[in-house]
Amino acid sequence: MIRIEAIIRPSRLDEVRMALEELGHSGITVTEIKGAGRQKGYTQHYRGAEYSVNLLPKIMLVVVVKDSEWEQIAEVIENSARTGDIGDGKIFVSQVLEAVRIRTSERGDSAVS
């Protein structure tokens, strides 16, 4: 199986989820994270003191899918998460040796479908 880790804008979460559901994939894990990269941060003033914030809120999705599906799913995420502005995020893909559905002890592909 393949683990797709996508870092996206919080505002695109719904689009991505809807796109995945259209593909029939609803299993997803979501984490609120912060990211830095090329995207510029912003400046705040508190009582005249300047603070520049450059860790920006992002969402990390983790989706584990069958080997055969990952390219399609990654593409769907990519397309639905894109706005074209700097800061759209990344997708990282890696190998999973084993997956387990805790409830049923199912292993392998059937655990993630």
Binding site: K34, L55, L56
Partner: protein, 453 residues
């Protein structure tokens, strides 16, 4: 009683040739320390309602707008205060013109005495105290409107809007219903009853909110769930402050510490309690889940509805007025959902509609047994009073509706549109309009805590 002591003293002073030392402590003769004490407190209580409203509202929006929504209330305490001292009070309560508006006679508080009462308004407290008490009403009313435009109105536009609105909408409506000689009030031709702000505060803000919601359009959001309240305990803190403050709002509108203040306070509390239970009951019936937000909304709707009636009705009718108010407001929110406009925090439903109902109810339940200076309503023998109330409602709706429309258009011209850019709205107005965030640790990725690492 004070009054009688005064008269007695005057009489006897003359009789016995004793000098009256009345102003020894700086008091003019008619002033009652008991009344002054209560009205000072009532002023503080009503003032506190504006921050209370800030928390009530801010808890209901997204975390990225918590400060901008708070500021829409707080800044009213800044802008309207100064404005009221400069010209607002004079326009609203100053010498009457055509029953519609005051003038600039008392601009800069000229002639508003710190020592003597204005007997047209409040015979036992200094005129300045009446002005100050009324200021707190003038502050909270535009702040109420903000509930319709949260999370998307530019702060610059908002500041200009409430300035203009205070002068062109609040001042005339307050004048018409409350000022000496005002068209709608007891000293004018219409003789409608409005104890503490059914027209000037509730209908004015509620109708204006509807107009603003229509003009400014819906909030953007990426998913509907996003629009849920971000912090309901904050809304409950606001509710507590509003309820507490309303004792001053309605009780203080008696302008003295006597049975009338008491009657208003009792009516207010019963209406609020009954409406809170009523709203809860509706939710229980419909969803099996009575919510805290429902309880809070009900309490507010009930106290809105009793506001015009508080000093004119008995506790029983107060209870009923509250109950009905909850049902009306709840239903109007459902209507909103069907109509599709985004009166985000339901100002029209909770203030406008409950306020209209309260004005009508005053025409039904008012009795001179509670307030000899008032009038009897339909159920106490005077069907005309209902007509009088409806007239006042109609005029208030028209002035608020048209006035707000014009003021909004004017504001829009001045600031180049009322609405923040789509990007700013998405980022949240806290950052984009105010350059700060409510909970920085959370919203910025810098760990706010480094405990025990």
């Amino acid at each position: 009683m004070k009054l009688c002591v005064q008269r007695l003293m005057l009489g006897m002073g003359a009789l016995l040739m004793l000098p009256t030392a009345a102003s020894a402590q700086g008091f003019a003769k008619q002033i009652s320390a008991g009344d002054v004490s209560w009205m000072l407190v009532a002023t503080a209580l009503v003032f506190l309602m504006t921050p209370g409203l800030a928390f009530f509202y801010a808890g209901m929006v997204r975390g990225k707008n918590v400060l901008s929504v708070s500021m829409q209330s707080f800044v009213a305490a800044g802008i309207v205060s100064v404005l009221w001292g400069l010209i607002g009070y004079s326009l609203a309560f100053g010498p009457d013109h055509f029953g519609v508006i005051g003038d600039f006679s008392w601009a800069g508080l000229r002639g508003v005495s710190m020592y003597t009462p204005n007997t047209d308004y409040a015979p036992t407290i200094p005129h300045m105290l009446f002005m100050m008490f009324q200021m707190t009403f003038a502050i909270i009313t535009p702040a109420l409107i903000s509930g319709a435009v949260v999370e998307r109105m530019k702060f610059s536009s908002y500041c200009i809007f409430i300035t203009l609105w205070s002068l062109f909408v609040y001042a005339p409506i307050a004048h018409m219903i409350w000022a000496k000689g005002g068209l709608l009030g007891l000293t004018g031709p219409v003789k409608a009853l409005d104890f503490a702000g059914g027209c000037a505060v509730e209908i004015a803000s509620g109708v204006s909110a509807l107009v603003m919601a229509l003009l400014i359009g819906r909030r953007r959001s990426n998913h509907p769930e996003e629009l849920r309240p971000h912090n309901l305990p904050m809304t409950l803190i606001g509710t507590a402050i509003l309820w507490f403050g309303w004792f001053g709002f309605n009780g203080g509108s008696a302008l003295s510490a006597g049975p009338l203040a008491l009657a208003a306070l009792v009516a207010t509390h019963f209406a609020g309690a009954a409406a809170a239970l009523g709203w809860m009951a509706i939710e229980w019936f419909l969803y099996r889940k009575p919510s805290a937000l429902g309880f809070a909304s009900g309490a507010v709707a009930g106290m809105v509805a009793i506001t015009p009636a508080a000093g004119f009705v008995r506790p029983g009718p107060a209870l009923l007025i509250g109950l009905v108010a909850a049902a009306i407001s709840f239903y109007m929110i459902k209507v909103k959902a069907r109509m599709g406009y985004d009166d985000s925090l339901d100002v029209f439903a909770v203030h406008g509609c409950a306020g209209i109902w309260g004005m009508i109810a005053t025409g039904l339940f008012a009795t001179r047994a509670v307030n000899a200076a008032g009038r009897d309503g339909l159920f106490n023998g005077d069907p005309m009073q209902l007509v009088r109330q409806l007239t006042a409602i109609g005029v208030a709706i028209c002035v608020a509706g048209a006035g707000t429309f014009l003021v909004a258009k004017l504001t829009s011209l001045i600031t180049g549109g009322l609405r923040a850019s789509a990007d700013d709205e998405e980022s949240g107005l806290d950052i984009t309009e105010h350059g700060e965030t409510g909970y920085p640790g959370e919203a910025s990725g810098i760990p706010a805590f480094a405990a025990f690492d």
